[in-house]
Assembly symmetry: C2
DNA sequence: TTAACTGCAAATCCTTTGCAAATCA
DNA sequence: TGATTTGCAAAGGATTTGCAGTTAA
């Protein structure tokens, strides 16, 4: 379905890049996305992948994720969520939990800051 | 006090680098540390700063901090703590709060993961 | 037609590394 | 002296950018 995917003009490359990010839960790097997209568009360039990932992230169609290792990854899940990182396998899992309000409230009460949002990373071995 | 600062051999450069990181609360980058150390050791090289920051981080004498912007920073505060990032100024504040156990417990109960530690970033305008 | 997009390659940024000289123990 | 550490400069890896050609609208 060649829908116009952002405010910009349609491009096959962008469509494929978005599809790849959406179809995985692996929180891929730009390079991994590039390798995948190459399977359907062998002449795509890495520059195009970077340009489009950034554009899609700016549009809010994908999320940029940077964890402790400093590696830039992308996530097709654009709902607000946190991450669990398995310390054994390195795998990253999306986790949504209704803890935010509570933690924010406690934090603001205890510190006097006015935090409005929060990002949590959980580490441990996935049971 | 030219104490032997790590398991390795003493060096003036390493001492200065550690001092600079300890004396600021600004969560500096390697480059900022380099500029500061240059004030007392004008011939220090950026490579030496990187080498020592990494060494000190590995020894646990400083902490490496990577937040949403992907920039690698260092923190002389080696106690377990979280960060508050002012969305207006970009300033990073250390925050210690006794919320971890609680959040971890709730998270594990709700998800079935076995998270053992947690990293929280708070965003908002500093009151 | 023409503004947006692409592939390519070069440039940039941050960090690491190899090496010969200097330094600590 | 011998092992570490240094400064320097070159190498590396990830990402961005300039440009001429291509393509969607």
């Amino acid at each position: 379905m060649k829908e116009k995917v952002v405010g910009q003009r349609y491009s096959r490359q962008r469509e494929e890049i978005l599809r790849v990010v959406r179809e995985t839960e692996s929180h891929p790097t730009a390079d991994w996305v590039y390798e995948q997209v190459r399977k359907t568009l062998p002449h795509v360039s890495l520059g195009t992948v970077y340009r489009n990932l950034n554009l899609l992230a700016d549009e809010g169609l994908v999320q940029r994720v940077i964890l402790d290792d400093g590696v830039v990854r992308f996530d097709g899940n654009t709902h607000h969520h946190h991450h669990f990182i398995c310390t054994k396998t390195g795998k990253i899992y999306d986790v949504a939990l209704p803890l935010d309000r509570e933690v924010l409230a406690q934090f603001n009460a205890q510190t006097g800051f006015k935090a409005t949002h929060i990002k949590i990373e959980f580490y441990g071995e996935k049971e």
